[in-house]
Amino acid sequence: MHSHLVTLLVFSALVSTVFATLLRDTTGERVRFGLLAFAAFVLSTLVIGWLTNPFPS
């Protein structure tokens, strides 16, 4: 797994699954919360990556 994007997607999916399982009680709530957390992880990473792109490493 050498792709940064795939790594981000896998990490976000696994962490969102744990959060959703711990923080919500019914299956429906867990699915909704998990999808929301997954989207928040991925989008915030892409936005921060885009914003910090001009800065030298």
């Binding site: 990490f11 962490v15 699954t17 399982t21 711990l22």
Partner: protein, 135 residues
Amino acid sequence: MSETRAASAARDTSRTVAAGLLAWVWPGLGHLFLGRRGKGLVLMGSILALFGLGVAMDSRLQLHLGLEDPLALLFSFAQMGVGAPYVLARLLGYEAGLVTSPMYEYGNTFTAVGGLLNILVILDALDTARGVRGK
């Protein structure tokens, strides 16, 4: 009557301690012990996948116990949160990692986050055993 109540309280305490310890020894095992089969299996799969992928991505699992490098100490504690899989990976010779690997930092993040999430799982197992959480 009070003897029965005392025996019941002692049993509840033992159950809570056992759930917490099992949850630390192996992710999800505390919930399985408490009869939360689905929840336990999902947590076990997710955390083991995070930790296993981290090790596969050349994460370092070296143990720092001195105070000369507090961040390294915290990092070690975070990784140790995953319990027996951490010990198993070290015994299998994965402790050094590979600092030149392009996935090294990702691997470190995966293993540390896996351990930190398992600490949340341990707390949830304790709450479930005490009856604070329902499902």
